[in-house]
């Protein structure tokens, strides 16, 4: 009860201050009157009666003060007072307020936008049970080859790794879904039976897998997610009889899991089935296609798990030398794997916006310092009226914090729009939809705003403490010149701003150059007017190789018949799609290296027209032709890099190659084709080998079609060409190769655009800041300028004077910035392609740019100064 009254009292003291004061006055006056009247009754004269009454009251003021202490608004009250005063001050100088608020909004907004992404991507835990302890277990060769495990290896790891408390294995792949209106492709996962237990995921209907369901011979079962259940199964509550046809075979739907569960590393997965259903499953130790996933035991570190995994791998290599020689294991945190690529980008961006905020702060500190000088009289007056230094400083800090909060509020709005924009321009690098302005982001914004306000309020508050205010008041007219300390502080701020702006400009320019270099890379093929799609044949429908080849052959024929198609072909892994496989080779014409150390090359399968269709030139020998069939000797085509690496200076046609892990029959090289990039434009050229579809048809193919017209106009026609061969064959990923190319460089483009925006922002804020300072200085020196001009200085001299003083600062800043750039840009080297972080030309050009802008920023106000009429200037105080 007491507290309620206390608060009510304080609020009243706060909000109804005048009333409270009035009442107090009235009450005390009444008492005075009564005393005086009594005195008169006791025989005093009216005057002495009053005097006596007053005397009894003693220091009226201290009574009032004591009363105010009790009744007044308290600390909140003084803060409120300061705030109101601050608002009044802000409205008095709207230009300053506008500049300050906008600068702050830009700085805080940019920081908040990037922070919200950093928060969502780097800081938040993945949405799995105990996600910070989840690790991914994969295999590796000595030479960083394929990183997957075989089911047998996964089982061994599961039983032998004591540092993990659970272990499941998984892989994802596109699955054909038929039986509906159209054949469809759905992304599915092949997992061990304990998979859902690892994630402690309970089904919303039915069940998940039981033990033993992942062994060969078990029933075909599948678990689907809610989205799939709703769209393909019509939310049928009776699961018992539902079957879906996957890859040509019926599977029973046994359970439904929530939509909120995203399969690790592949969020598109909608259905889960058991491991032995994976096309290509075999119990052989070297049939590798799985990742292991599990939780670290509570007291175990990743390093300890890694050490144990190494031991297990070594044991396997010893026990099974032919399959596992030279293989090692890799244990990494799932979180690490997820953010590995994007972390450096985000950190670079975060550093950039941090710089912008610093620039904005120093800008404002400068402006506030300048204003502080002008407000000296005001503060001197208040000091004379009894305000303590602390009170005045608190006033200043309140003002700047108010500005900062206002700017921060607007910045938050901007950040909201900014993140929407970022997600819209999303290169697939950022997680969709999870970036939100949630509580931690809001806290961040608040914290940053308040810190900013405090920081740039410190400068004038400190300036205040160094003045002898009373002397200032006594001086007539204005303050002539300002303390050397303030001037030095301002100079430091300008230099700092220039330096930071230069670093950002250097970063932006480097990214531009890097992106430009990337675009200039010759991919090795012609990417225009190429349409592509993928398909995978169901195993049980096309059991014989001849049947597989027949399908592929007919597809190519149908494609050629489509009007608008110039040429068509098939390839196993199209460049830039991420589909790639490698293989180890041995060369019969030389000594065989020890097991596990055979050279590794990129491996692909193509139809004869592939090279012509995609634009890879034939350099020597011949391409595949109709003479190469299942029953004829195996032939391969290699790229120039492979030829040069293994047969430098010779003609490799006619030489033989053997594949490790295949049968022992060698293949003969019949031709050499040009090099082509495979996974990334920025990769080093790797040796490639192609065999032909007619000899190893397989189930999976990527269609490549060069069109005479705009490629997407033929999308449906190309789909139908496949359906003419088998109307139940799903196809997917219908897209143009150009879009693949764009996607490939998307993250670099994204980074470049953002850095350019930030650099531009930094440049603008700095230029405005410099302009503001020079402008202000000129304004204060109008008197001095008038004197100079009256004494014979020409306009040009004045110009030179002002500009040179400003430029001196600017150039110092540029030099400091150059040094900082040389030191700092090495951290972004990993994000750059084809350009050194200390590229001289870039640094010189941005220095010139910054210098030029600084010159302009100084020149404009300087010129205004020369227009001043000396007579007016002289009179100006």
């Amino acid at each position: 009860m007491y507290w309620l009254r206390f608060i009510r009292l304080r609020l009243r003291g706060l909000l109804r201050k005048e009333r409270v004061e009035e009442e107090m006055d009235a009450e005390l006056r009444f008492h005075l009157m009564m005393r005086a009247q009594e005195n008169v009754r006791n025989g005093m004269t009216p005057e002495s009666a009053m005097l006596d009454a007053r005397r009894r009251f003693g220091r009226l003021d201290s009574i009032k003060d004591a009363a105010r202490e009790i009744k007044g608004g308290g600390m909140l009250g003084t803060l409120w007072q300061d705030a109101r005063y601050g608002v009044r001050m802000m409205t008095k100088s709207p230009v300053f307020t506008a500049i300050a608020v906008l600068t702050l909004a830009a700085g805080v907004g940019a920081n908040t936008a990037i922070f919200s992404v950093v928060n969502a991507v780097l800081l938040k835990a993945l949405p799995y049970h105990n996600s910070r302890r989840l690790v991914l277990v994969s295999g590796a060769d000595q030479s960083a080859g394929p990183v997957v495990l075989s089911p047998a290896e996964a089982q061994d790891f599961a039983s032998q790794l004591t540092t993990l408390e659970d272990f499941a294995a998984m892989q994802t792949q596109s699955i054909n879904l038929t039986g509906g209106a159209q054949p469809e492709r759905v992304r599915g996962a092949f997992v061990t039976a304990n998979f859902f237990e690892v994630f402690k995921l309970l089904p919303t209907a039915g069940r998940t897998f039981t033990r033993g369901e992942d062994q060969p011979g078990a029933e075909r079962v599948v678990v689907v997610n809610e989205g799939f259940w709703r769209s393909r199964l019509n939310s049928d509550p009776e699961l018992a009889d539902r079957k879906v046809i996957l890859n040509g075979e019926p599977y029973s739907v046994v359970g439904v899991v929530p939509n909120s569960f995203r399969h690790p590393l592949d969020a598109e997965v909608e259905i889960w089935t058991t491991v032995q259903r994976f096309p290509g499953y075999s119990e052989r130790r070297d049939a590798r296609f799985l990742f292991g996933i599990g939780h670290l035991r509570p007291d175990v570190t990743r390093e300890q798990a890694q050490v144990e995994a190494d031991t297990v791998a070594a044991r396997m290599a010893q026990a099974y030398p032919s399959e596992s020689a030279g293989r090692v294991a890799k244990v990494e945190l799932l979180e690490e794997r997820t953010v590995r690529n994007i972390r450096p980008i985000l950190l670079a961006l975060f550093a950039a916006v941090g710089c912008i905020l610093l620039i904005a702060c120093s800008n404002l500190a400068n402006l506030t310092l300048a204003r502080g000088t002008a407000r000296q009289k005001e503060f001197a007056l208040r000091s004379a009226l009894g305000a303590s230094r602390g009170r005045l400083a608190r006033q200043l800090l309140t003002e700047t914090t108010l500005l900062a909060l206002l700017g921060g509020g607007i910045g938050l709005l901007l950040a909201g729009w900014g993140t929407d924009l970022l997600l819209a321009v999303n290169p697939g690098v950022l997680p969709r939809g999870e970036v939100r302005l949630d509580a931690s982001v809001l806290l961040f914004t608040l914290g940053v705003s308040m810190l900013t306000g405090f920081l740039f309020g410190l400068a004038p508050a400190w300036q205040l403490s160094r003045f002898d205010l009373h002397t200032k008041l006594k001086e007539s007219g204005s303050v002539v010149g300002e303390g050397a300390g303030a001037l030095r502080a301002r100079s430091v701020f300008v230099v700092v701003q220039m330096a930071l702006a230069l670093v950002l400009l250097a970063g932006g320019a480097l990214f531009i150059k890097s992106f430009y270099r990337l675009l200039q890379v010759d991919p090795g093929f012609k990417s225009e007017n190429l349409l592509t799609l993928e398909y995978r044949l169901p195993r049980n429908k096309y059991v014989e190789s001849s049947a597989q080849w027949e399908f592929h052959r007919q597809v190519v024929e149908q494609l050629r018949a489509v009007p608008g198609v110039e040429s068509a072909a098939l390839i196993r892994g199209l460049p830039l799609t991420g589909n790639s496989s490698s293989i180890r080779i041995t060369l019969p014409d030389r000594e065989t290296p020890p097991g596990g150390q055979e050279p590794q090359v990129l491996f692909n399968t193509a139809t004869p027209d592939y090279f012509a269709t995609i634009g890879i030139p034939l350099v020597q020998g011949r391409l595949f032709n109709d003479g190469d069939r299942l029953d004829t000797p195996a032939v391969v085509v290699v790229n120039q890099t492979l030829a040069r690496r293994f047969w430098p200076g010779q003609d490799p046609t006619g030489k033989q190659i053997k594949f490790v892990g295949g049968d022992d029959t060698p293949a003969t090289i019949v031709g050499i084709v040009g090099d082509a990039k495979h996974d990334w434009l920025s990769e080093e050229q790797r040796p490639q080998i192609y065999d032909c579809y007619s000899q190893s048809p397989g189930f999976f193919a990527t269609v490549v079609v060069r069109t005479k017209v705009e490629p997407t106009s033929l999308s449906q026609a190309v789909r139908e060409a496949v359906w003419k061969v088998d109307k139940e064959q799903p196809v997917w990923k219908v897209r143009t190769v150009e879009s693949l190319l764009a996607y490939n460089v998307a993250d670099k483009r994204f980074l470049m655009l953002l850095m350019v925006v930030f650099a531009g922002l930094a440049l603008t804020i700095t230029a405005v800041g410099l302009y503001g300072v020079v402008n202000y200085t000129v304004g204060r020196r109008t008197h001095e300028i008038g004197v100079r001009m009256a004494l014979g200085a020409r306009a040009a001299d004045v110009l030179k004077l002002v500009v040179s003083q400003g430029m001196r600062l600017a150039l110092t800043g540029v030099c400091v910035g150059l040094l900082a750039s040389l030191a700092l840009t090495r951290f972004i080297q990993s994000l750059l392609f084809g350009v050194s972080a200390t590229d001289a030309l870039t640094l010189v050009s941005v220095s010139a740019l910054l210098g030029g802008v600084a010159l302009l920023a100084c020149y404009v106000p300087a010129r205004r100064a020369t227009k001043v009429d000396p007579l007016i200037a002289l009179r100006h105080e």
């Binding site: 008492h31 003693g58 009790i70």
Partner: protein, 110 residues
């Protein structure tokens, strides 16, 4: 006339004010007068202590205030005891009694 102003402890003054008001509501001046009267002129409350004390007691909720008209037709603020105040007065009276007895006992032993 007393030879010196007896200094009153803050807590004691509060209690006296409460007691004064237990008789009937009064304005600030009247409270001071009544204390002088009831103590046979021994206790004089200084204005500097009276009003802060009044405001403090009001904040505690033991008295409430209301503007009214005094006997000589002047506008004045009247204070009156609240129910909580009455209880507090009892408590303080008891405490004071105990304190006084204790002091008395000490002073008695020569």
């Amino acid at each position: 006339m007393p030879t010196q102003d007896t200094k009153l402890l803050q807590g004691t003054l509060d209690m006296l004010i409460l007691k004064t008001l237990s008789v009937s509501p009064l304005h600030g001046y009247g409270i001071g007068q009544r204390i002088v009267l009831m103590s046979d002129d021994v206790l004089r409350v200084e204005e500097g202590s009276l009003y802060p004390a009044l405001y403090r007691i009001e904040r505690q909720g033991w008295i409430s205030s209301e503007w009214g008209v005094s006997d000589n037709n002047l506008r004045a603020k009247f204070y009156k005891l609240t129910r909580a105040g009455r209880k507090q007065l009892q408590v303080e009276e008891e405490n004071w009694g105990r304190l006084a007895d204790a002091v008395f006992k000490v002073m008695r032993t020569a």
